[in-house]
Structure formats: C-alpha cells, structure tokens
C-alpha cells in the first residue's frame, strides 16, 4: 500500500514522495490528516474593503480589542447608523406625526438626502424645480408616498441574522478556497455565536495566529454545524481542535448561556447610546420567567412517554444528567434544531435589546401578568385554524349590462356615414360581388406582378422598420456596437430632448391634477405660465436642432436624408407639443367660459374676497 505525495516549493519543480504502509487503517488516517492540512492551507481568508486591521495580516489583535471598540466604517454610515445613533434630528421617524404629509413636506433634510440617492428624481427635480421654477412644495406634493417610503427605509436598520450562512467559501481556479470576511462580519459572528468568541479567546494568541484560526474554522465541523449544515461524523473532515467546541457547546450549555447573556450585555453596554442601566433585566437569561404558555419544560408535567406511545423526537424530555454520556451521538436532527432555535432566540434577544434600550424604562417587565391583548395573541397562536370551518365567501352580484351600446341613443354617429350611399347602391354592389362559376383562384396573382411587388415592398419596409427599432431597443442590453451606422444626432441633443420630456411630463401631471381637482387658481395660473414657457422653449429647441441639421454637410446635400431627419425630430417632439397645446387650450377655454358665466356682478364678490386677501397690485 502506497501513498504518493506531490509537492512543490516556490520556484522549484514538482517533487514526489512515496510512502509505504503495511496496514490500511494507518494509511487512511495519514491520508485524512494530510488532506485536512492541504485543504486548510488552501483556504484563503480575504478581508474585503474594511481598511483597518485584517485577519490575515498577522497583526495579532486580541479579541477584546476587536469586538466592542470597532466603530462603524464610513461605508456603513448613511442610513442605518445615522438613523439609529443620531436618535434625534429630522431623519428619525419614531412618531407617527413625523410621517404626516405636512411634516414630510417640511422635512428638507429628508428631501435632500432622497434626491442625493435617487439620480432619476434628482434630474427631474433639477429640470423642473431649479430650472423651471416649479415650487418644491408642488413637486413633493405628488411624491409624498415615495418620500414616506424613503423615510421608513432609512429609519430601518438591519437586524441580527445568521451571519455564517451568508459566508460562502468559493473555490478558485488554482484550487484555493477563498473566504471573504470583513471586520464587521467577524464582529457579527462573535456576537451571534458566543462559542466562536470563546474559542477565539482561548486559542488565538496562545495556539494559532489569527489567520490560522479562521482558516481552521472554515474547515471545521463547528463551522458547518453553526451554519445549519448537516454534518456527517464519519466522512467529513473537520478540525480536531475546533471541533471540540461542538461538544463544549452542548455540555456546558447552561454556563455558556449565562456567558452569552453577559457578553450580549457587554456588547449592548458598549454601544454608544445605551447606558449601563438601560440593559433590561430580561437579558439575564436565567432570571427570565417564561410564561407557562410558552414554556417547553411544561412538557415534563405532561409527559406522554409515561403513557405508552413514544412521542415525536422533538417532544421527548431528556434528563440532562443521564444522557450526557452519549454526547455526540445525539440525534443529528435534534442537534440542528436546537442550534437553530438557539440562534433564533439569540437574534430575538439581540433585537429586543436594541428596542428595549430605545424604549423608556418606565414599564416594569412582568412576564407573568399578561395583558388581555397578549393572552388573545397566544390563544390565537394555539388555535388550529385549518381545522375550523371555512367561511363561505360572499359575492356581490354585479349586473353588467353589456348590451348598452345597442340601446344607447348617443351612438348614432354611424348613421351619418350610412347616408353617404343609398341602400340600393349597397344592395346592387353586393349582388354584383356574387361568385359565378367557375371561380379561378389564379386571378389573384395572374398579371398582377406590379401589385404584388408593391405589397411585397410594403411588408419588407415594415419589417425593416421594425428591425431598426429592435436594434435600437436592444442596443444597450446587448452591447452591440453601431460604428457602422454614423450617428448624425448629437448625444447632447438626445439628452436635451429626454430632459425636456421629463420636465414637460412633470409640469403636465401637476397641471392636470390641479386643473381637474384642485382649488388653487393662483398655483394653476403659475403652472399655466410654466407650460407656456415649456412650449416656447420646445419651439426654440426644434428650430435650433433643425438649423444644426441643415448645417451638416451630409444633410445639406441629401434632401431625402434631411426630410427623414426632420420627420424623426418631429415625431420625437410631437407628443410633447400636442400635450402642451392641449393643456394650454383647455385652460384658456376654461378661463373664457368662467368669465362668461361670471359676468360683471362678480365684481362685488371680488371685493368681498379682497377684503380677506388683498388683490395683487
């Protein structure tokens, strides 16, 4: 039995080594050990962006220094930290009032930040508010929902999560395994999994370097177990030293729980804003009084084991003292579930800690005195809804009158058209169309070459047109280059048209909203003036572009091309022109009508009004 090793030192040729064995178990052991070492050495811990300290740089930092002192790095500032640490200021939205329409409209800081983040909105804002004097008030008034959503978005921050499950070792081409972790991630790992912190504390300065610790860790069973992967004891490689913590984790559950409680206490107390006093008593795990409603220990009193049928594996009550002997052979499923449960409660605890520190401490925590609402909630939880009778859904019968068009007297527009021809004409026309034997189908194409060619061209040109459109619309996504087609149109002109379009749409939407529903003639008048301006600018733009095209050598000498370009330009601008004209005309018409309806007598009314609000002079 032989084992052949290939190895290579830097810059040297590959060498091989042959080991002879006399018995297979020994060889297998050696082989496994070697494989573990190779795998470990191939794991590269990469420390992404965070500048300060890296894991693999050999800079031996003590864990105590790592954890709590680390402050949020600049990249993570922005939303979460500013919202949670500032606490005050216009970017916190703890009260319902701060989300009301009025206060959102007043919250310039929020608006500014939103504009900073949303480029699209910013360009609309620039063109409509800054360049064209739309009032910011009006601009935001139609976007209150967006603003509110944004406010809620930035006032939220990430809760605790299963950090390890987000870490995915990636195999590279040169047979290395890369693991990307940031300093933040490591802190999160320590917070979520105290056992890792403990291992780190115990091992790092004395036994391994920090880098080695992590590369061992990512190859260990401990890592897989904590992540929620299934580990198979016999086949998978692990790490002898770190895997011990798998069992430490189980045997010293009680101690460790205590420890975790204190560490989380440590950690919360070090958060800038929380005072020592603010850590709620509920964090001391052992002292928590679990409500009987939720207490699984209550199963002991209701032990079905004594009654004969073996309960489900998750429901078996085991006395820790007796079962400890079989450690490691506990049902894999149970271990995983326990781990997951532990993790979940850890997360709940962490987010509770955050929220309780934010809340005032005036409410004493008395778990056993449940409020009526809580009792209801628990009872609701216990209710097996799917066993209840399903309620019949009730429908309201809609009597849709789909024949209304036949009856409607308004629909007689077609009669006018019928009058163009007498019924007799139509009658004889149809009689003359009757088929007589023998019908020869070749009539449809015989001696019709010219017509057929014409039709063919019609189809082809439409396909060509559609193909061009297709190319244009797929250009960006496919990265097809268009060097062969010389682009006559200036990119800046295209951008200008796009910007105009955004502005016009913005103004029009405000205009129609006010025109149709609003009760603010002054504002409406102002918008009307803006629309007029837009219309004039558009005409100017058109003239400018046309002139520019005319100056182009290529266009000047090619009447057909010129026509085509002008037509394209027209079709670009036409929708804007039509909609602007429509809005302006409607407005003018409405003003005229209103004036007719309110003849001179309104003068008196006006005076009354003026009494409250003086007329502009």
């Amino acid at each position: 039995m032989r084992l052949r090793l290939l190895y290579k030192n830097d810059g040297e040729d590959e060498k091989s080594l042959l080991l002879n064995f006399s018995n297979r178990p020994t060889m297998n052991n050696i082989k496994d050990a070697l494989q573990t070492i190779v795998a470990r050495s191939r794991t590269v811990i990469k420390d992404t962006p965070t500048p300060a300290t890296t894991v693999s740089d050999g800079n031996e930092t003590t864990p105590g220094a790592i954890t709590p002192t680390s402050t949020p790095t600049p990249s993570s500032v922005g939303a979460s930290s500013s919202a949670s640490t500032n606490g005050a200021g216009s970017l916190s939205f703890n009260t319902p009032e701060s989300l009301s329409d009025a206060s959102l409209l007043r919250n310039f800081q929020l608006q500014q930040q939103y504009l900073k983040e949303d480029r699209n909105l910013r360009s609309i804002f620039t063109s409509s508010v800054i360049d064209n004097k739309l009032t910011p008030q009006l601009f935001w008034s139609t976007r209150l929902n967006q603003l509110r959503t944004y406010a809620l978005t930035i006032s939220q921050h990430r809760g605790p999560y299963n950090v390890l499950s987000t870490i995915k070792p990636v195999a590279t081409s040169d047979n290395q395994v890369n693991v990307n972790v940031t300093r933040d991630t490591i802190n999160e790992i320590f917070d979520t999994y105290p056992i890792i912190r403990r291992a780190f504390t115990e091992l790092v300065p004395s036994k391994f370097s920090e880098g080695e610790f992590w590369s061992r860790f990512f190859n260990s069973k401990l890592f897989r177990r904590l992540r929620g992967d299934k580990i198979n004891n016999s086949t998978n490689r692990g790490d002898v030293i770190l895997d011990k913590y798998l069992y430490i984790d189980q045997t010293q559950k009680a101690n460790e729980d205590k420890e975790s409680a204190t560490t989380s206490l440590d950690q919360t107390s070090k958060e800038p804003q929380s005072e020592q006093t603010s850590t709620a008593p509920s964090l001391q795990n052992p002292q928590i009084k679990v409500n009987k409603f939720l207490d699984l220990l209550g199963n002991e009193e209701d032990n079905s084991q004594k009654l004969g049928n073996r309960p489900d594996l998750t429901m078996r009550f085991e006395d820790d003292g007796i079962k400890k002997v079989n450690l490691g052979q506990e049902n894999e499923m149970i271990v995983l579930m326990k781990n997951m449960n532990k993790l979940s409660s850890k997360m709940v605890e962490m987010s509770n800690a955050i929220s309780t520190t934010q809340q005032s401490l005036t409410q004493p925590d008395e778990p056993d005195s449940l409020s009526q609402a809580e009792i209801n909630e628990y009872q609701e939880e216990l209710n097996l809804h799917d066993l209840n009778e399903v309620e019949e859904s009730e429908f309201i019968r809609l009597s849709i009158n789909s024949n209304l068009d036949a009856k409607s007297s308004l629909r007689r527009g077609s009669e006018a058209q019928m009058n163009h021809f007498t019924p007799d004409e139509l009658s004889s026309f149809f009689s003359s169309n009757k088929f007589k034997p023998l019908v020869n189908l070749s009539d449809t194409y015989d001696s019709k070459n010219a017509d057929i060619e014409k039709s063919s061209n019609e189809v082809t040109s439409l396909i060509k047109h559609n193909f061009r459109t297709f190319k244009l619309t797929t250009k960006d996504s496919h990265g097809v280059s268009y060097d062969d087609v010389k682009n006559l149109v200036d990119e800046s002109l295209v951008q200008e048209i796009i910007r105009y379009n955004m502005t016009v749409v913005e103004f029009l939407s405000h205009f129609w909203k006010l025109f149709l529903n609003g009760n603010n003639p002054t504002q409406l008048k102002r918008l009307f003036a803006s629309l007029k301006n837009c219309r004039n600018d558009l005409t100017a733009l058109k003239e400018r572009a046309t002139k520019k095209f005319d100056e182009m050598e290529l266009v000047k000498n090619n009447e057909k091309l010129r026509e085509k370009i002008i037509r394209s330009l027209q079709s670009c601008l036409e929708p804007m022109e039509v909609s602007l004209d429509m809005a302006c005309n409607e407005y003018v018409a409405a003003v005229r009508l209103a004036q007719k309806q309110q003849p001179q007598e309104t003068e008196s009314v006006e005076i009354n009004d003026n009494g409250k609000r003086p007329l502009q002079q």
């Binding site: 997951m340 009158n401 527009g413 026309f429 194409y445 429509m582």
Partner: protein, 376 residues
C-alpha cells in the same frame, strides 16, 4: 436543514411543442357593407375572398392535419361558412360528381370551383364561396334594416370558442368538427354578442390530447371605431390565455385602435393594407408566420399601438375620462342618472359634484388671468 443556509433554484424550461403539430387557422371576414363600398375602387370583396382562399389552401397544404375555419361577420349576424354543421363534407368528398342523392341545395347548382382541384381545397373553397353568395344575398335583400352595428366581436368569440374546442377535444373522433361547430354556432350565432368569450376558459385543459397551434385572422375594411369594447377586450384576454394569436389585415383608410390592441396583446400581426390589389402576397408572407416562431423573428406588424380605451356611453375613444370604481367601466362623461351605465352602481353625489364642478381657474384674480390668457 441544508435548506436553511443554502437554497439553489434550478429553473428548467420545458421545451416547446414540436414543429409537426397541426395548426388551426380561423379567418374572420368582416362584411360590413359601408367599409367595402368605400374601397370599391381598390378592390372588391369577391376579389379579396379569392385571395383568402388561396391563403387558406396554402395553409392546408403545409401539413396534412392542418385545419381551417371561415367565419363571416355581417351586420346582421356572425356565422360559420366553413365548417358548416349542416353539410356532410364526407358526402361531398365521396360523391364527387354530384351524381344524385342531393337533397342538399348546394349540389343542384353547378360547382363554383373546378372539380379538378385538390379535394381538400375544393371542399373548403366550394363551401366558403357558396355560403358567401348566400351572405351577399342576405345583405343585398336586407340592406334597409341594416343598422351598421359591427358583429365582429361576436365573430371573434365564435372563433375563440371553436379554437378552444379544437384545442381540447380529441381529434381522432371524426365527429368532433361537427359537434364543436354545433355547440359553438348555437351559442353565438343568433345574438352575435361577446358573451360566449367567457365560456372559452371553462373547459379543462388537461383533457387536451393534440397539441394544436392556432391563430385567427381578421380581415376588415370597417373604418368605424365603434367596436364593442368590452366583448373585444374579453376576447383578447381569452385569446391570451389560449395562446392564440389574433392577426389583423386592415383595409380601408383608418387604423382601428382596438384591433391594434388585439394583435398587440396576443402576439399577433397588425398590418394596414393600403393597397389591397396585391393582397395575396401580403397574406402569404406577412400573415403566414406560425405563432410558435413569432417570438424569434421580426414581425411585419405595425407597432405604433394606440392604447386608448373606448367610452362605454358614447362608444368613442377617451382621452380623459372617468372610471367606475366597481366595474371599471370607462366613461367620457358622467351619466345624468348618476349611475354606472354598466353595473348600475350609484355614484356618490358629493364626488359627482366635485368632479363635475369644472376647473376653478379664476376665483379672485379673474381679471389678471383674463389679460394673460388673451395676450398669449
């Protein structure tokens, strides 16, 4: 438990139907008199019908099990010209030389197409031509009572119900065609309204045995936009569900925005035939594309679709209108009754008052606006 940390979805797309599947082509010819009369200088309806026959024959020749159907939509009603449940096509096929029997009136008259024609073509062509003659007679005689209502929506519903039958029923049963046609015609023929469309989705697709492809071609010269909006829209949705494309060959002068929408929504082809003299070319090229390959090629369709909706009250297109919050009925004006014309829901008076009060353009500063408005 692996699922907690890792979940990988592998999407497997099932391969599409094979290319040998039979295909059903349903042609709807809109015989609205005014439209055809108006383009009488360009073409006549009989010329066009002949081109359509060539088109259908071409479709039949592509695959032995391909199917065709032909529906005429006249101002009075919509009806199937082919297949026709009252005619036993087998009889025509066997007794090719009208030897006797002939209780059927069709066989007394001399045949309209040459007896030498390929039999499958002849059966279809003969039936369509004869029935078209009947249709023309009916129109010519009944021209006084014609109210010029379009029955196109009814014809579309009939086409869809027939298509649905053909897609879901076992083709091997020879009576299928007749039974399918019987039930669909009895449902749709008389009223010609769009109510049948809603039934098309009820049959269970699981009993489908053949995987047939299907499309519908509407040929119309009607320039009126007065199509029944709701039934047409319902038909469009049904066609989408059935994956049936609706192709439109629009003759005449105007585009029809609702038919454009029908084609656009069903991956169909909308083509405005400006000059119908060479239409046989258009039919056998632009409209000859099987729906299954349409996603992959550039279609000769006019993609400038007008998505406007139609007012339920006036039947005209709406720019700015009102929508019933109960049934989504679209109105260009609020009915004087204050009720939704389609579902009779009573609208809130306060809201009506607010909506109909008109724009408040001048309350206090009337005169200022006046000068502005006049100046510009």
């Amino acid at each position: 438990m692996d699922a907690i940390s890792d979940r990988v979805f592998t999407e497997t797309t099932s391969t599409e139907t094979s290319n040998d599947d039979p295909s059903l082509l349903t042609v709807i010819l809109d015989v609205s008199p005014a439209g055809w009369y108006r383009i009488r200088d360009q073409t006549s309806i009989d010329e066009l019908a002949k081109s359509l026959l060539v088109f259908m024959n071409a479709h039949l020749s592509l695959n032995n099990s391909n199917q065709v159907a032909f529906i005429a939509s006249t101002p009075q009603k919509s009806k199937f010209l082919f297949p026709n449940p009252e005619i036993d096509y087998d009889e025509i096929r066997t007794s090719s030389s009208s030897s006797g029997s002939a209780s059927n009136q069709h066989q007394k008259t001399p045949t309209l197409v040459s007896k030498d024609m390929y039999r499958q073509f002849r059966v279809v062509d003969e039936a369509v031509l004869e029935e078209l003659n009947v249709v023309f007679d009916e129109i010519a005689n009944g021209i006084q009572d014609i109210n010029n209502n379009s029955t196109l929506s009814g014809a579309l519903s009939m086409a869809l119900t027939y298509t649905n039958r053909m897609l879901t029923l076992d083709q091997s049963i020879s009576t299928t065609t007749a039974s399918a046609i019987n039930s669909t015609t009895s449902m749709g023929a008389g009223s010609g309204s769009g109510n049948t469309a809603t039934n098309s989705s009820t049959s269970n697709p699981s009993n489908s045995i053949t995987s047939m492809k299907s499309r519908i071609l509407i040929v119309t010269a009607n320039d009126e936009d007065d199509v029944k909006y709701i039934p047409v829209m319902n038909s469009i949705f049904a066609a989408q569900k059935m994956r049936t494309s609706i192709d439109i060959a629009k003759l005449g002068f105007e585009d029809s925005s609702y038919l454009q929408q029908a084609a656009d929504a069903t991956n169909g082809i909308y083509f405005h035939v400006h000059d119908p003299r060479g239409i046989v070319q258009t039919l056998t090229s632009a409209f000859f594309i099987e729906p299954s390959i349409r996603p992959f090629i550039i279609l000769p369709t006019n993609s400038n679709v007008n998505y406007r909706a139609s007012c339920f009250v006036t039947g005209k297109s709406v720019d700015i209108g009102f929508v019933c919050s109960v049934c989504l009925c679209i109105m260009s004006k609020i009915p004087p009754s204050g009720k939704c014309p389609a579902c009779e829901s009573v609208f809130d008076e306060k809201i009506i008052a607010q909506l109909s009060k008109g724009p408040s353009v001048l309350s206090k500063k009337k005169r200022k606006i006046d000068t502005n408005g006049a100046a510009k």
